[in-house]
Amino acid sequence: MAGMSQETGQELRRIVRTNEEIKRVVATAFKINLMAMNAIFLAKRAGQSALGFGVLSNELRRFAIDLQKQMSLLREMTYGSVATVTAMVKQARLNRVLERARKESSGIGRSLIDEFLRTRHNVAFSRHNEQINSLNRRLSQMIADTTQLVELGSVLARSAKIEAAYGGAFSGALMQVSSDFERTIDAIQRSLESLNKQQDANP
């Protein structure tokens, strides 16, 4: 019984960590969106010499929007996990109290609690456990999808860097913007790696 509540406590802490990491990625995705808008304006100003860069900037903006959508789905999912784990924590606490009541009771009281623990309580707990496992599987899948998306972003950022070299008089400014993209996407990749590790550590 104590193990049960320890596990649910750990699960809750893990979800909080995941949520914090997701918040970090959401903030960065928003930054990329703004950076991509600036890059589009810069490419327009640079005109003919930055046509390729302009195309890539548009792609990066689309990437930022997709990433934001993906992150909001992830947040919804962690919210669902928090609700389920909270119900499990409550259930585990209830179980603890009932276990104490069982020890103190005799006669009808004891047989009532025995029957209760045998049926409804354990069923409820295993149902919550199944829900958590399913949420975790979906979360892992979504992190894997996001990692793939971010890899695309990384390729776009590298290509933008190459295109910047052909930007003529704007080359320096374009190089600066594309380096910023690269650094920011690297930061997202690190966050996703950390999310992955948290998922892998999940028993």
């Binding site: 209830l94 109290v97 009932l98 104490r100 009541a101 069982r102 020890k103 103190e104 009771s105 005799s106 006669g107 009808i108 009281g109 004891r110 009532l112 609690i113 209760f116 409804r120």
Partner: protein, 246 residues
């Protein structure tokens, strides 16, 4: 484990006091719970906090089948009164919890849903248990702003919530008040500090003076009997309340 003591019995009408847990940790205030049984039906008064649920449940089930408790009465909203609500609901999801309208959206934080609560208007309400009609008596601001006591005209017992409560030291924690003068010293500080409204106190004293009471059962401490009830009401009427010591 607490002890279930039958304090009144007349045929199928009974009052059972669930009292004194020698294993209670000293950081939890001691509470009394009362079960009023009439035929096959029962109401549990101030069922207590979730931490003491095991002690209450086990003691109660020595005298009565807990599944047959159809009603809970919460004199007010405090955790030592009703935080065990969700546990009682586990055993009987149909159980009804009587609570002041004032707390009807606060107490559900302890459990229950829309169908669980029967809200009591400020003027009080009758609650039927088995074939017996009990009266929820207003005791607002004593100490909670939405507060009720419960009077049983058949048994002539008043459940008085925190009014009459005493924090008894070990060795003096008898079920019934033995020596009023000695006992009341343990009630004085509590009433001075916890009861905040002089007007509410006067109203309550005048209201309960009109009732025929043979036993007054508080949520903490010992039960007043016979003449001690009148002495308590007089003592309380004279007591200066709403005072912070020092």
């Amino acid at each position: 484990m607490k002890t279930a003591r039958v304090i009144y019995e007349d045929g199928s009408h009974k009052w059972i006091a669930i009292v004194r847990d020698p294993n209670r940790p000293d950081y939890l205030i001691d509470t009394n719970e009362y079960l009023v049984v009439d035929n096959d039906d029962a109401i549990l008064l101030d069922p207590g906090g979730s931490e003491i649920f095991p002690a209450v449940f086990s003691a109660l089930s020595t005298e009565f089948d807990p599944r047959r408790i159809s009603k809970l009465f919460a004199s007010h909203q405090d955790p030592d009164i009703i935080s065990s609500l969700s546990l009682w609901l586990e055993f009987n999801p149909q159980i009804k919890c009587y609570v002041s309208w004032l707390w009807s959206s606060f107490v559900p934080h302890f459990g229950g849903d829309r169908d669980t609560f029967v809200t009591m208007p400020d003027g009080g309400v009758d609650i039927v248990v088995g074939g017996q009609r009990l009266q929820a008596i207003p005791a607002h601001y004593l100490h909670s702003s939405g507060n009720f006591h419960l009077y049983d005209p058949k048994a002539k017992i008043l459940f008085s919530g925190d009014v009459g409560a005493a924090l008894l030291p070990p060795g003096e924690d008898t079920l019934f008040v033995e020596d009023f003068n000695r006992h009341i010293r343990h009630a004085e500080g509590f009433h001075r500090r916890w009861m905040g409204s002089e007007k509410a106190k006067r109203d309550w004293c005048s209201r309960v003076s009109q009732l025929d009471i043979e036993m007054m059962c508080p949520q903490h401490g010992a039960i007043y009997r016979g003449e001690q009830v009148r002495r308590f009401i007089d003592w309380f009427a004279q007591l200066e309340i709403g005072v912070v010591k020092g």
